[in-house]
Symmetry: C2
Subunit: 424 residues, 2 copies
């Protein structure tokens, strides 16, 4: 893409009520637009990141057998009354409104009830199970406070997955596969090293239990205890003598860190199905409740966590897998006639023809300083500069965004093209 055609421009300042690092950087770099506290729109660069994360999650969920669907935002009161969760005393984040005929409707803050109701309509026998479905849903939650940028919003994209099995063993197997799939997602989006699965309540030997995925990050609202040697961590709530003794671990081997929850999964056993009246006839002819699990990842929240965890004082640092572009090609030419602009344009066309995702800063009126500043702020992982100076020095200047060096490395044009093009 030509940067001259990108309508978003970087901004010096974020709105004054914006205090979180993620929202400030995402806003300044032109990834998001603020509508209200906790409500953001996603501009071209931001939507590209969201879509890349979605695609990675989608691949991993499909790999463990899930099918994608999309439920409605408008919620049917009757369905939520079955579980008692229509009640504002029980769920305090509902947005509700009324149809013209006076009937109340809600707006989806979660979808367990309607998805279970939908799944029920396809299940009578054990032959109809399992059902595993996920969606990327725009959740609406009437939160009291929304101060953490895109990490805690009144409107956000969540991948929620639901599984329906005929027995505990199958559910437990899937639940464990899901833990692995989630960890693959975090590794693929660049958060693997700093993300832990923690047991949130109960243990794997009770009927109902849940796990959280926590990414170490100063902006996180949770505290976790990380083992200094083994690759494990515990939530604050269960970090006590009893748990430590059970696991044969020593308190002093742990250190306390701030962390942000990036996923949570729930094994409900048959509790939810009993509430929602979801039964099946097993091969022994006996009617039994379905075993239910639910599995969430906050997609837009992840964008915030990546920015919080990986950015530096100059701006965002995207992992390549989720970056809007793989490469930021910068020309320092002031007019289109010089050798350096022509070379840059030519490289851009070559890269594009081979589907390399490249943002080409072709803006003639901007200074080198402005371009480098924008590039640091936007955070594409690799930068390549083509200028009269780089050409005189023997080629192009390349620099990784995460490098703290002032200057990049000069490599020949051929070397550079070999890095990105297949057939040259």
């Amino acid at each position: 893409m030509l940067q001259s055609k990108l309508f978003t421009k970087t901004k010096k300042d974020a709105p004054s009520d914006e205090t979180s690092k993620n929202a400030i950087l995402l806003y300044r770099a032109g990834f998001i637009h603020k509508e209200l506290a906790g409500v953001y729109s996603w501009l071209p660069l931001g939507l590209m990141v969201v879509n890349k994360i979605k695609e990675i999650i989608s691949q991993e969920m499909e790999a463990i057998g899930s099918s994608e669907i999309i439920m409605s935002t408008i919620q049917n009161k009757e369905i939520w009354e079955k579980s008692g969760r229509w009640d504002d005393e029980k769920v305090d984040v509902w947005f509700k409104s009324k149809l013209k005929n006076g009937n109340e409707v809600g707006f989806g803050w979660s979808h367990e009830e309607p998805i279970t109701e939908m799944a029920k309509s396809f299940v009578s026998s054990y032959k109809d199970l399992p059902i595993i479905v996920h969606q990327f849903q725009n959740k609406l939650r009437n939160e009291v406070r929304a101060k953490a940028g895109v990490m805690r919003c009144r409107e956000f994209v969540m991948k929620d997955m639901y599984s329906y099995f005929k027995n505990e063993e199958e559910l437990n197997n899937f639940y464990n596969n899901c833990i692995d799939a989630y960890m693959k997602v975090y590794r693929r989006i660049g958060l693997g090293d700093m993300t832990y699965v923690t047991s949130a309540s109960g243990g794997v030997f009770t009927d109902k239990f849940s796990h959280e995925f926590q990414t170490v990050c100063e902006a996180g609202e949770d505290n976790i205890y990380i083992h200094k040697i083994q690759n494990l961590a515990m939530n604050e709530e269960i970090f006590n003598e009893e748990t430590l003794n059970k696991m044969n671990l020593k308190k002093e081997d742990f250190e306390l860190k701030k962390a942000a929850e990036v996923g949570n999964i729930f094994n409900f056993g048959t509790k939810k199905s009993e509430e929602m009246d979801m039964y099946f006839t097993d091969n022994d002819g006996i009617k039994k409740p379905v075993y239910l699990g639910s599995y969430g990842i906050g997609v837009t929240r992840l964008v915030g966590v990546i920015v919080e965890a990986l950015s530096d004082e100059k701006g965002i640092v995207w992992p390549e897998s989720v970056s809007p572009f793989s490469l930021h090609l910068i020309s320092l030419a002031k007019n289109e006639n010089g050798e350096s602009y022509k070379k840059a344009k030519d490289v851009y066309e070559k890269l594009k023809s081979q589907h390399v995702e490249v943002l080409f800063d072709d803006r003639l009126e901007k200074s080198a300083g402005e371009k480098f500043g924008d590039s640091d702020l936007i955070g594409i992982p690799m930068r390549v500069i083509i200028s009269e100076k780089s050409l005189a020095a023997g080629g192009v200047e390349i620099k990784e965004r995460k490098s703290q060096e002032k200057n990049g490395e000069i490599i020949s044009m051929d070397q550079f093209l070999h890095m990105y093009l297949k057939d040259c």
Copy 2:
């Protein structure tokens, strides 16, 4: 995909309050689930169709220079008050609710105001124009009646595009490009022959004007007059002596048909920008209002129109471009050990390895009649049957869904594989 793994099953009946052909067929075939009147969820097959239509629209909008974004569902009252459209007297389809602090919020039934507000924040000079953006947005509208299945919903996916130009000429050029792009979309999704662009009000020589795209279809709620010889049509409202005289056309050359609106585009001139206070400084140093256009296609509505326009008494007939799968491979085997099942499985694996989108009906317990009935209902454009009978007759039986013949044609396995596989 293995049909045995598809959790949706075809159903004999739709909910009794469902009267539209599109909803009945989509429901029975397992494409949608009904949440409330005018509110549907999209199940795996349905979401595949929606995504294919989105992808086609996306390509055509990007080809004319638009960038994709996604705005929020939650709407800021203050922004809508600027244009006067917060008022329920002016806009009677708002869903509204309240934040915990008592502030009112709305839920997006349209996004002209917030997108214009967002665009404003990036525009001061003529150098910042044009801006062209589109989104695939879940619109929420508090409609009094919702009886036309997915053709008129309280919640639906719309592609809405907005353009901001510095002068009338540029806007008019883009507006005309958009007409061409829309017609390309309708052709690509199989509605080209029956879709007309009609002038909805005014003419191209007034400051503000609009056009509609109308698909001939019995379930449509509009009437259009179609010229019997020339490829043109007129909306009922402007079909009068005056227009006919201006265009030098004769009344008797037209016939009246029912049609469904599948797109509409608006050229607002500077009206909207003046309302929303969106100005720029031109290269002559003078402050001027921006020229605005908006362009909508109802994505989920299109699914309904395709079903209404192309289905037959046996079920849905998808055009290949939007069909969830290109091919419905049906095995009639009753166990996995026979030759015919093994051959079918082998063909399925070959097709899959070459990324042919194939649904394989591998269900052993279903009768041939049930399988053909399901296949007709689901509507994949090409069916191939592998059975002992077809093998004995020399290969596989292929049949187009739209064919009204009872039986298909027997072709050799090699011939069939040549049709779908590149390297064999």
